[in-house]
């Protein structure tokens, strides 16, 4: 093994001087929990990633891939950290094939740039381009494919997240109800295995059973099987009409009765999001105070053909009123897009306001969303812990954010205890509880990923076979893999 100085020199030779940094100021921006990397590298393409990983493999260096850093609180603290591999220079859209409804991109491409590229010439886009242009710190992709298609994903922090990060963390939001999960949209992948080998799987066709489905294996793997470098996705034509219905309800029972009634019909909403007032009131958007007029808000996304959206809007509004909705309102097109972008930004807003923020993602079988929501609400209110709750109803996913300033260790300990109790509660069911955000120093006391289940030995076998030295994201994944 070489000393680190030699390694740095070699990295500089491989990537170029400007693609490797060891400046302490910069390194500190790439801390992962308690660890600071020895160097951050900025490869420009898959070949360079391969060079870096091969070097890391030869010298047994721990590597953590990094996109926009929006999900870096995820997972166990790394067991070791030598190199952070930033994908920020791997920001090329490789192929846009709108006639075949596929796109191929590098891992560092931002989700918003993909949507911008797929917009029509008139800037009809899945995301509110104008708002993004005003807020963004960087230039947003100005090329247009003129196709009017979109990548049907709805990740948290849709304005900042990179596609590589979305895939590595299986980040999906409310609208997965209609469009399914990232695993269902990925068609192909090129990754760099922990040996440095470039490995490809899948391709541009929607149907492909040639070889193992490595693409799906990468989704949600937290980059622990290799660096995800290039991905191909299935696209959809932009919906003809987009509308959001906003309702508020005095009681959770009324809100959930409305939601359950919706799912008894054959209507196909894109999302049905239930939020506590504490969540609604912090959504970063003007003119939606109706939603927080009562303790529980329900936002329904409708995306489809004009007459289908009109029918769903009418029928659901009638249902909501019959269940005693206190307010009802609707947002169309640009306002609709802005609303769901605001929902995707909620986690970040809450984190800024609450330095001790803890967020949990709880998944239950779809029919149990309300039971889960109530269990979370009761547990936190009994422990006197302020929280904001969201449910992606119809998907069975609940998000709980504990709004803590992190200053009082007693309160934090109480929160940790409550979360651990909930975690064991949910591990006995068919569901799961994952702690997504928590100040680093509390991680050791929490079961971050919950119970990995009986398939864990298979996961362990895979990890050990593919990454025998354990260099990729060491220890951060499920069960310390």
């Amino acid at each position: 093994m070489k000393n680190f100085e030699e390694i740095i020199n070699e990295l500089r030779e491989l990537l170029g001087q400007g693609s490797v940094t060891v400046e302490p100021d910069q390194l500190s921006q790439f801390r992962v929990d308690h660890l600071t990397p020895q160097a951050v590298v900025f490869p420009k393409n898959t070949r360079q990633v391969s060079d870096v990983v091969r070097l890391a493999h030869t010298n047994n260096l721990g590597v953590v891939p990094w996109g926009s850093g929006t999900q870096m609180t995820t997972g166990n603290p790394p067991k070791r950290l030598d190199l952070v591999l930033s994908t920020s220079r791997m920001n090329h859209i490789i192929d846009v094939d709108t006639a075949n409804l596929t796109i191929t991109v590098e891992a560092g491409v931002k989700f918003r740039d993909i949507q911008a590229r797929l917009a029509t010439q008139e800037d009809r886009c899945y995301l509110p381009l104008e708002d993004l242009a005003t807020e963004a710190d960087e230039v947003i992709c100005s090329d247009r494919s003129h196709s009017g298609s979109f990548l049907p994903m709805d990740p948290p922090q849709a304005d900042k997240a990179t596609i590589g990060g979305i895939i590595a963390t299986n980040a999906a939001g409310p609208r997965r109800l209609l469009y399914r999960l990232p695993r269902d949209l990925i068609l192909g992948v090129r990754m760099v295995a922990p040996t440095g080998d470039i490995v490809g799987s899948g391709g541009k066709t929607v149907k492909n059973v040639s070889g193992y489905d490595v693409s799906k294996l990468t989704v949600g793997s937290l980059g622990s099987l290799g660096v995800i470098c290039e991905m191909t996705f299935k696209l959809l034509p932009l919906p003809e009409k987009m509308e959001t219905l906003l309702f508020s309800f005095q009681s959770f029972d009324a809100a959930s009765a409305f939601v359950d009634q919706v799912f008894e019909t054959s209507l196909l909403p894109a999302a049905v999001e239930v939020l506590t007032e504490s969540a609604c009131s912090r959504l970063p958007m003007e003119g939606i105070s109706d939603l927080s007029a009562a303790p529980f808000g329900v936002a329904v996304a409708l995306e489809g053909f004009v007459p289908a959206v009109a029918r769903m809007s009418d029928e659901m509004t009638t249902m909501a009123k019959s269940q005693g909705a206190v307010t009802n309102n609707s947002l169309e097109d640009h306002r609709h897009q802005a609303f769901w972008l605001a929902v995707s930004k909620l986690g970040r807003i809450l984190e800024k306001e609450n330095p001790g923020l803890m967020t949990l993602k709880v998944n239950s079988p779809v029919s149990e969303w309300a039971t889960t929501f109530k269990a979370l609400e009761t547990a936190f209110s009994e422990a006197d812990l302020p929280c904001a709750l969201q449910a992606h109803a119809g998907n069975g996913a609940c998000l709980a954010s504990l709004l803590l300033d992190g200053k009082d260790d007693g309160v934090m300990e109480k929160a940790v205890g409550t979360v651990n109790r909930l975690s064991s509660l949910f591990s006995e069911t068919d569901g799961s509880l994952v702690v997504q955000t928590v100040p680093s120093r509390w991680k050791a006391q929490l079961n971050i990923w919950g119970n990995p289940g009986s398939a864990f030995p298979v996961m362990k076998r895979l990890k050990e076979k593919i990454d025998p030295l354990g260099i990729m994201n060491p220890g951060r994944f499920v069960g310390g893999l």
Binding site: L217, F305, N395, D430, M459
Partner: protein, 462 residues
């Protein structure tokens, strides 16, 4: 372990009546729907997960090759025991274990016939979407192993998109659960990796399938063309217009003739090709979509577009499509189906190449395929008793798959690599890709006993 001892030991696990080893039995399990052949040493019919686990543990200990089998409708030799050993036939494990409408799932054993399951859930107003043409015979376990497609996959996705969880028996007999009724289980997506593994990683003993509500409305059309090219161009144009129908199926003249000789659907025998276009979903907006589609068909020189008037007419149109492979089997003793897939805009170009390849090798080729997905199924018709003709078929098939790969597509859309396309994997994979696949295989099956010899060509020097 000698074969007789193996038979005795298996008999102890499942009862002697559930072990088959006569010469006739072994011959019956020596083939599937592909032209490949190979006999097992013994066939075993387990009745429970525990029995499967004990069988696997035995095979593991004795290092005997073992493979799972449903109805043997596999088209690429995936169920052929090329290295002998044990065939585990799942016909006795065919129950619905839990139909859970509130959670939109159904849990089944792998031996259940796909259509039987679909008929059962339909009674509750729900659908299990993947609809391989063999659904009357094929099993869910087989569909999972092969990641089966079907006409409706254009809109709804392939089998993999409808499997939420699995119970697997690993090489050493360990029983594990992957996924579940809740979405998004943390950890590697073992379910996703397993679906489409061609039975080379483990045995599936239970599956949790996703259900969807039956659509309110369905509209089925038959568009008739004078040239295949016009039909293929229509397919691309419909998608480009922003419409994703539930199906976009194409059938050429040769296949229509074969169908009419056996099923009598009433396809226009003087036309070059037809498209079966189906829309489903909410009725609102469907009429407008149908009108747009008809306009696109006209722009692409359609001769006529017929709308199915009722369910009976719709069923007839589909009976012809789903019975097409069988009908082709009546024309000549054998056929080889090349399952290459291309980006759909490449269809006209690749179809032309297919026609030229047929002419070059003097072989009749029929086309009946999932045009919307770009998933071709050129059926090369031949007589397997003629070795010279069989050799020409091989060459033609390889050229067709090469044409698909060169057009940015792949060598298999839904039938798998199996034995048939081992050589052709080099058209789409380089050695590091294959080495990685072997690593995955080794993680599950270090002794290489689970359906060995399939899907991944063995390394040149191992």
């Amino acid at each position: 372990m000698d074969t007789q001892t193996l038979i005795d030991r298996l008999g102890e696990i499942v009862g002697p009546g559930n072990v088959l080893s006569s010469q006739m039995d072994l011959m019956l399990y020596s083939y599937d729907a592909s032209p490949e052949k190979g006999e097992p040493d013994v066939v075993v019919l387990p009745g429970s997960t525990e029995e499967v686990s004990n069988i696997m543990a035995l095979a593991h200990k004795e290092k005997v090759p073992i493979l799972g089998r449903g109805s043997g409708t596999n088209l690429t030799g995936g169920t052929i025991p090329v290295k002998g050993g044990i065939v585990v036939h799942f016909s006795r494990m065919n129950r619905i274990l839990d139909l859970d409408i509130p959670n939109r799932t159904v849990t089944v054993e792998p031996g259940i016939i796909t259509l039987d399951l679909q008929t059962e859930v339909l009674k509750k107003g729900f659908m299990y979407q993947p609809d391989p043409a063999s659904q009357k015979v094929s099993t869910i376990g087989g569909n999972i192993a092969e990641n089966s497609g079907g006409p409706h996959c254009l809109k709804y996705g392939v089998t993999s998109n409808h499997i939420q969880g699995l119970e697997l028996v690993l090489d050493d007999g360990t029983i594990v659960q992957t996924g579940g009724k809740a979405w998004d289980k943390p950890g590697f997506d073992i379910t996703g990796l397993f679906v489409g593994c061609e039975g080379t990683l483990a045995m599936v003993t239970k599956a949790i399938l996703k259900l969807e509500r039956t659509p309110e409305a369905v509209k089925t059309m038959l568009a008739v063309y004078e040239t295949i090219e016009d039909g293929a161009n229509t397919v691309s144009a419909i998608i480009a217009e922003g419409i994703i129908p539930a199906t976009l199926e194409m059938m050429d003249n040769r296949v229509m003739r074969a169908v009419e000789e056996t099923i009598k659907v009433g396809y226009p025998l003087d036309a070059a090709a037809v498209l079966i276009i189906e829309l489903d979903g909410m009725p609102q907006g469907m009429e407008e979509s149908a009108e747009k589609i008809i306009a696109i068909c006209k722009e692409n020189n359609v001769r006529e577009v017929k709308l199915a008037k009722d369910d009976a007419e719709r069923a007839t149109l589909w009976a012809g499509r789903k019975g097409a492979f069988g009908a082709v089997g009546q024309v000549r003793p054998s056929y080889q189906c090349c399952d290459g897939t291309v980006p759909r805009t490449k269809l006209p170009e690749v179809l032309n190449k297919v026609i030229r390849i047929g002419e070059k090798y003097n072989l009749p080729i029929g086309n009946v395929f999932h045009a919307g997905d770009g998933n071709l199924h050129p059926l090369i018709m031949f007589d397997e008793r003629d070795p010279e003709e069989k050799a020409r078929v091989q060459k033609a098939a390889t050229e067709i798959l090469k044409a698909c790969a060169d057009a940015g597509g792949t060598i298999s859309g839904e039938h798998g690599v199996g034995l048939e396309k081992l050589r052709e994997t080099s058209f789409i994979f380089c050695e590091t890709d294959l080495a990685f696949e072997r690593t995955l295989k080794q993680a599950f099956d270090p002794n290489n006993i689970i359906n060995p010899g399939k899907m991944i060509p063995e390394a040149v020097c191992q």
